[in-house]
Amino acid sequence: MEVSKKLSAYLTKLNTIRTTAIKSVKSESPTVKTFTLEDDICSKANPGQFLMLRIPGIDEIPLSILNAGEGQVQFSVKAVGDATRHLHNLTTGDLLGLRGPFGTSFTETRGRVLLIGGGTGTAPLLFLAKRLAAKVDRLSFVIGAKTKNELLYLTELDAVCTDESAIATTEDGSYGLQCLATEPLEKLVDKQKFNMIYTCGPEKMVKSIFNFAEKRKIAMEASLERLIRCGIGLCGSCMIGKYRVCRDGPVFTMARLSEVKDELGMSKLGFDGSRIEV
């Protein structure tokens, strides 16, 4: 009873929109920008958690947290549609609404860890890598993109890797290895025994890493995306299996990924609640 009253007061606080001015905007690539906002509650977020960002008069969308601390929170946004393009037109001083942080975070492990990020899915992994860097024996990072100028956070990634550098892959071969981010996996794992793989990115990528990790019996955690409306586990828009991506996820452990593997990389609910292809 006591615990549940506390939880409910806490959730009410997280879920109340705070409207705040943009502190700064940084361009990461031709299509991705990073925003910094002041927000005490989100500044306490853990890697893997997300926030709901209201672009006044336009939309409210889920975004992974890229960095949090000292009263500030950062997230990166790729311009893909109406809301995200609007966001790209905003600058320092413009108002945005925030609620969150929501959802589960990555489990911090020790030993040898491998992180594989695709596109803006690299954001929560960079946040995680910064937390893990000083504590693990080995930290390897593979990052993938279609082409060179879409590879994100390269210098920051090099700084957190215990290898000389992060392994970059591009589909067109304009930088690093010409292949999908999943390709170097086999070689890396043959050379080193990793005790955890963390991943976030396009779901087909996550699925193929899941298949690999399952076959090789390596623990894994992945952050998934579904349609997020309420963000608090109520509306049911974000279901995968019996789980709510906004509340029971977005970070899924190996065991839970196994439970939902029929839907993983296959189907999700669309805006009208019908099942559509991922």
Binding site: T19, P56, G57, L95, G97, G233, G236, K242, L269, S274
Partner: protein, 307 residues
């Protein structure tokens, strides 16, 4: 939870316990219904479904108020044809009654969706004549005794399954509408849907919901809902009632029973207390019944009216 103290019968539906999932909450997939059943719910009400697909409103669709939520999701649903497969699957995995919430823009549409839902395995239908934020349906029907009568009559003559009518609190006299629904053949009433509401962002100085107006749910509306149940029970003591609005613990549930509800539906509390709220309510109600020496939850329905 499953004990004899808690079993109830509402319009022919046998519930192992007097709690149900409210419409629009985790309301799309058979897997989520199963999960809610495993969390202790005695019945499931689906998201409201209509004839054709609707994508609903753009976000923000749910906004936090001080002791509740204001939502205007806009009835997103895949349409009954597409939804039939999911309903069949849901029916195949659930042990508890499956109640399909239905909406339409005409009485023919309500009847059509109800028929298809029944064919797909629905144990009952709940008519959403009370959604406060979609034009030409929901409360625009439920606020008008004539339209309400037409819709209920049309559905009653089209399906054999129990028909539950979900009432809106956004009316001058809820009893008048409750009487109209029962006269038209409603087997039970759900009391209440959300209370029309609005939230404004003082920094941007504009309404927050994309639809501007929405419906308030959660603890804030519980006293309103309890009053509505009390009024309806007083006027229609033979009509079974699902109490709904702000139920978040066993004391809330008991208030509804004492006011005249045979069971409660739970929505918003699922976000703030987790789905385990069902089990917690059932445990609390069981302990109360034992402590007060009752043999069944049925014995306390409407008891506050004798005082």
């Amino acid at each position: 939870m499953n004990n004899n103290l808690l079993t109830v019968n509402i319009a022919g539906l046998k519930l192992q316990n007097p709690t149900a999932l409210a419409s629009g909450i985790l309301g799309y997939t058979g897997d989520s219904f199963k999960f809610v059943e495993e969390s202790g719910a005695g019945a499931i009400v689906t998201k409201s479904v209509g004839v054709s697909p609707r994508v609903g409103y753009s976000n923000p669709t749910v906004v936090q108020a001080k002791s509740g939520l204001i939502n205007a999701v806009g009835l997103p649903n895949p349409g009954i044809n597409e939804y039939t497969e999911e309903l069949k699957y849901a029916k195949s995995v659930l042990k508890v009654p499956l109640i399909v919430s239905v909406f339409g823009y005409t009485s023919e549409e309500y009847a059509l969706v109800a028929v298809k839902a029944a064919e797909a395995g629905a144990d009952a239908v709940e008519l959403n004549v009370s959604c406060p934020h979609v034009k030409y349906t929901g409360s625009e029907i439920g606020q008008n005794p004539k339209l309400l009568t037409d819709v209920v009559c049309a559905v009653k003559s089209a399906v054999q399954k129990p028909v539950i009518v979900k009432l809106s609190p956004n009316v001058t006299d809820i009893v008048e509408l409750g009487k109209a629904a029962v006269k038209a053949g409603a087997d039970a009433l759900t009391v209440i849907n959300t209370v029309r509401a609005l939230a404004i962002d003082v920094e941007t100085q504009e309404p927050i919901l994309s639809n501007v107006r929405g419906g308030l749910s959660g603890p804030a509306i519980k006293p309103i809902a309890v009053r509505c149940v009390y009024d309806i029970f007083e006027a229609l003591p033979k009509t079974p009632i699902f109490g709904c609005g702000g139920v978040s613990d066993w004391r809330d549930a008991l208030e509804f029973f004492l006011a005249g509800a045979s069971a409660v539906q739970v929505g918003t509390a699922i976000a703030f207390e987790e789905p385990a709220v069902f089990e917690a309510i059932n445990k609390g109600v069981t302990a109360y019944l034992k402590r007060k020496g009752y043999g069944s939850v049925k014995e306390i329905v409407g008891l506050s009216h004798q005082a």
